[in-house]
């Protein structure tokens, strides 16, 4: 393990706390606060990955995950960005895209064959002749893509999601972002502050340079952070990256949890009144030959390695930079013990004179107007060629570290994803915000500022601008803030150099996709003239880093190659997710929510086997015999009790209630008699049947109706939608959860019920298809209906949920002498299937209309004024012979029933099985099927194809419906 630097105020590691981890099967140690990347670096690992196409060695480059250089497999998850992921105990880390080892990759020979693979290689070659493609595809698939995911990999971890609302959302917790948050919060507004690194501070955090007399930048960062953390109305999310911004000021992001957090990652979706973009700058990569060789890193990376993680990134360094930050880094690292051969600065002039003086004091050679043109060394850099920017003179320097950066470039993705516009600025060489989206404000280094006081002042101004959006600040205050900022230094001049004086065969503009300058030239020479097209043809910027590396270099280089005026330079578009995000983070928590009926507990006690059915948990079986023989036979010969509480239950009342019912139900509702049950169905505008249920009249203009379980949630929406123009006077209440339903079925049902009620329930007094309201023990209001869904004498009792348990107990007590027993949803399914009573969704699908399932008799054709939903389409469908129709069938030669969903075939598919079971009652396999019109005749032979049955078919025969008790005497007895 490398020795760490101690006693630096900026350190984020705790050298007293070691963390062990496994890399390539061996145990290593890092420190608390390390990222995976810095922990590996401290153990001497320099090659972190092999590149996508050429298998070139790749190393630590930026520390912020702008490229795939440090993507590794961590605990089975591929493509984890090691430089953004904090090291945790016992992590298992593996390299990716390697044949052999990172040091000796057998595929690296491809690097020498790059001449065979120009830009658009696959587009141009693999498709001609067409038959070569299947062969080529297999080969390409073997080598394409980064990382592999085992098919049986199971994602672990806790993923959360939150949807906060706020007045102001500040993206970026650097000096500008913190100043903005403080000034907006000072106006009494609620502020959310997102920072992608684990600590606040941004551009100030890791710098020990003097901010003002007696205070370093780092100390200033801590001072601002302390104020932010103290402010009650600022909510800070650290280690939280923005992944998308949308209009209406919706910001999405995700946060990586600390060990103490209750989540590993969480999705954050912020709705803000106003948004402040304080995302600062990243470095613009320097383009030269072998510019991505391990041992080459950006200035910020080198400085943060030392100051944040206590790791001196090399022994002997060469700097090739274009910004004062490079000089500052050289001085800081020299003082920490790094040997520096020379500092090549792209700029001929304009350096901070104080920094130049400090270099001179330390005898560090400063080469103005010079740049690295080539890195040498097969796997790690060991020598660098430095030349003048016009390429006239050159000299080699030995080194094991090359700190390289062309300059800075603002991070503008938050602005461009919301269709804000950027403009190339000649002075800074940056793409600066030109047209900001509504209620979004850019601040700090995003505006090109680099003076510390100006950055903070600009932050305060943005905070006030956001406050103005929230009506918490006056124009005059903004004017004052603007004046203050104007007195401070504006943006300094930036470097324009895009590429060192080289041909660019091995100058990589995009690391993720292995795109070289030569590839870009080839694309332009082929006629692709705008960066957006060149990006697609060469795939530069389409990798996991989303253009973090090529982002602004690509349009700048393209303009230079085409000799375009700078005014015409346009940056390419970025799209969410701006930062790679786990799908499990988007998915959030799986709450596995469901509703329980009032009888849930009692049915569990009785041995109910529960299944999720729609939004409910329901008792499907009451034994481990899933054929439900005992349950079925008990209902047919004795008496059974079923919990039907999941039915949709509604009250509709008011002068226009009948009109509303007639609009959605196909039947004539004006004729519902008091004390009678009306069965009807609802269709959609295509005549397709969507629901069925019963309607009873409980008073003048006052009805109670049921819907199927699955439709209960959308019934009110449906009725209101289809009456939205009419201005009718009616009112609806959803009683689904406040009422429970008990179904008492079987020949002995009356004997049980009469023991607990006071009214006469003989067949003469309470006949089939009738409705009664009564009270049990003068207290419990019951709505009772005589229905016959299962084909036996049945009472359906609708009882207030709070009384369900009491009634259930009374019935069970009363039924004891008959051996009453539960039956579940599956038994009910078989019973009603024998009776050919349909369940919508089982005996129908999306295209099945009312007529297809034989319910045409429900439809009253003589109410055109009602404009019933579906009536027009039904009229048109009446003569349509091409539709699938419902038939009943039994199996030939006492054969077993086919599986639900099996196909009816001859030469082609002719229909399918809806429900089929081996019926204990009928002692044969029976069912219902939807078949083409010419197969509906009684006696037609049906050829049934079951999944994976090969050539073995089973056969059924169309029979009359219903299959059980065709006269219906049993349910009317």
């Amino acid at each position: 393990m490398m020795n760490r630097l101690n006693n630096l105020a900026t350190l984020q590691i705790d050298s007293s706390r070691k963390i062990s981890f496994i890399f390539r099967g061996k145990r290593y140690y890092g420190l608390e606060g390390d990222t995976i990347a810095t922990a590996l670096y401290s153990n001497g690992i320099r090659i972190f990955a092999r590149s996508l196409k050429y298998h070139r060695p790749r190393g630590l480059y930026s520390l912020d995950g702008e490229c795939s250089n440090t993507c590794m497999e961590v605990d089975g998850i591929p493509n984890v960005r090691c430089e953004n992921t904090l090291l945790k105990d016992a992590m298992e880390i593996k390299e990716q895209n390697v044949k052999g080892s990172l040091e000796n990759d057998k595929m690296s020979v491809i690097d020498k064959m790059d001449w065979m693979m120009p830009a658009g290689f696959y587009y141009n070659t693999m498709h001609k002749p067409a038959k070569i493609w299947p062969i080529a595809m297999k080969q390409i698939r073997k080598v394409a893509g980064l990382g592999t995911l085992s098919p049986d990999f199971k994602m672990t971890g806790k993923y959360d999601e939150i949807f906060p609302t706020t007045d102001v959302c500040v993206i970026g917790g650097g000096p500008a972002g913190m100043s903005a948050a403080l000034s907006a919060a000072g106006k009494g507004l609620r502020v959310i502050l997102l920072e992608s690194r684990p600590v606040l501070g941004g551009f100030f955090e890791y710098r020990l340079k003097e901010y003002k007399e007696g205070q370093s930048f780092h100390e200033r960062a801590r001072e601002l952070a302390a104020q932010v953390e103290e402010a009650e109305n600022i909510r800070v999310f650290t280690h939280a990256s923005m992944i998308g911004a949308y209009n209406n000021n919706l910001i999405t992001g995700f946060q990586i949890g600390r060990e103490s957090d209750c989540f590993d990652e969480r999705y954050i979706e912020i709705r803000a009144q106003s948004v402040i973009v304080a995302t600062g700058c990243i470095e613009r990569p320097l383009l030269f030959e072998n510019n991505e060789r391990p041992g080459i890193m950006q200035t910020g990376c080198a400085l943060r390695m030392a100051h944040t993680y206590g790791l001196l990134p090399g022994k002997e360094a060469v700097f090739s930079i274009g910004h004062d930050l490079g000089l500052e880094t050289a001085i800081s690292l020299y003082d920490l013990g790094l040997k520096i051969s020379c500092v090549a600065d792209i700029r001929r002039e304009g350096q901070d004179s104080e920094l130049v003086a400090q270099l001179r004091e330390r005898n560090i050679e400063l080469l103005k107007g010079s740049v690295a043109t080539m890195a040498h060394g097969a796997k790690q850099v060991n020598k660098v060629t430095i030349a003048t920017v016009n390429g006239t003179a050159s000299q080699d320097y030995n080194c094991d570290l090359l700190v390289a950066s062309a300059g800075l470039t603002p991070v503008t993705s938050a602005i461009t994803v919301v269709r804000g516009r950027l403009k190339y600025d000649d002075h800074t060489g940056y793409f600066l915000p030109d047209q900001m989206p509504e209620k979004m404000h850019a601040t700090g280094r995003v505006l090109g500022l680099d003076n510390a006081l100006a950055i903070e002042s600009s932050g305060r101004l943005a905070g006030l601008q956001a406050a103005f959006d929230c009506k918490a600040c006056s124009i005059a205050e903004i004017g004052e803030a603007e004046n203050e900022l104007e007195k401070l230094p504006g943006p300094t001049q930036g470097t324009k150099l895009v590429i060192a004086p080289v041909k660019g065969r091995k100058s990589f503009i995009c690391f993720d996709e292995d795109t070289t300058i030569k590839n870009i030239n080839q694309a332009i020479d082929k006629g692709f003239d705008v960066p957006e097209l060149i990006k697609r043809f060469t795939s530069a910027g389409t990798g996991p880093g989303q253009g973090g590396i090529p982002g602004h270099n690509l349009p700048l280089y393209v303009a230079q190659y085409q000799k375009l005026p700078s005014i015409s330079i346009r940056s390419t578009t970025v799209r969410p997710p701006i930062v790679p995000t786990l799908l499990s983070t988007y998915a959030g928590t799986n709450h596995a929510m469901f509703k329980r009926t009032p009888m849930d507990e009692m049915q569990r006690e009785d041995g109910g086997v529960f299944r999720n059915i729609g939004v409910w948990q329901r008792a499907r079986y009451f034994s481990n015999d899933f054929s439900c023989k005992a349950e079925i036979e008990n209902v047919r010969s004795n008496v059974g009790i079923l919990d039907g509480s999941t039915l949709g239950k509604f009250r509709i009342s008011g002068p226009d209630a009948v009109k509303a019912l007639e609009r959605v139900f196909v039947s004539d509702m004006s004729k519902i008699k008091e004390g009678r049950v009306k069965y009807s169905a609802m269709c959609n505008d295509d005549g397709c049947v969507i629901d069925d249920g019963i309607i009873v009249k409980q008073g003048e203009n006052d009805f109670y109706f049921t819907t199927s379980t699955g439709r209960a949630g959308s019934t009110i929406e449906w009725i209101r939608y289809h009456t939205r123009y009419d201005g009718w006077d009616f009112h609806m209440v959803n009683l689904t959860d406040s009422m429970g339903v008990i179904n008492l079925s079987g020949p002995n049902a009356r004997k049980v019920l009469e023991k607990i009620v006071d009214i006469d329930i003989s067949n003469e007094a309470f006949g089939f298809s009738e409705y009664r309201e009564f009270k049990i023990k003068d207290t419990i209001s019951v709505r009772a209906m005589r229905l016959g869904f299962v084909g036996e004498l049945s009472y359906e009792l609708h009882v207030p949920s709070s009384y369900m348990k009491s009634v259930w107990l009374m019935l069970n007590e009363a039924g004891k002498e008959f051996n009453i027993r539960n039956f579940g949803v599956e038994a009910q399914n078989v019973l009603r299937m024998e009776k050919c009573h349909i369940i919508l969704g089982q005996e129908s699908e999306q295209r099945t209309n009312l007529l297809d399932v034989g319910l045409g008799f429900l439809w009253d054709r003589n109410k055109p004024k009602a404009k019933t939903v579906g009536a027009v389409a039904l009229r048109q469908a009446e003569s349509d012979q091409t539709r699938l129709k419902l038939v009943g069938f039994k199996m030939e030669n006492s054969g077993r029933a086919p599986r639900d969903g099996s196909l009816i075939v001859d030469e082609k598919v002719r229909g399918y099985i809806c429900t089929a079971r081996d019926s204990f009652t009928l002692k044969e396999g029976v069912g219902m099927a939807l078949v083409e019109g010419d197969l509906t005749k009684i006696g037609t032979r049906l050829e049934i194809y079951e999944d994976e049955c090969g050539d073995d078919r089973i056969y059924g025969k169309v029979v009359q419906m219903p299959l059980y008790d065709p006269e219906g005497t049993r349910m009317k007895m």
Partner: protein, 86 residues
Amino acid sequence: MALTITCPICGKRNGYEFKFGGEERGPRPDEKDLTPEAWCDYVHMNNCVAGVQKEWWFHRDGCGSWFTIHRDTTTNFEVEKAEAEK
């Protein structure tokens, strides 16, 4: 996702709370003399305006009312009624 909708009863709320109910196309036509084509047009044909359209929304996770708004389909921003009918 970024949509907000202003319910006449509950005010401006997150778009997640609402269910889309299609373009505004007037009350159901009379069934008398209605041709299949005219009916099909009424039920299924959309104008797919690129710009401001009047459309129906249902406040499902709220007050449960149907109402119309004007929305610019190119930006997803709601437009004031007066402005939309200019």
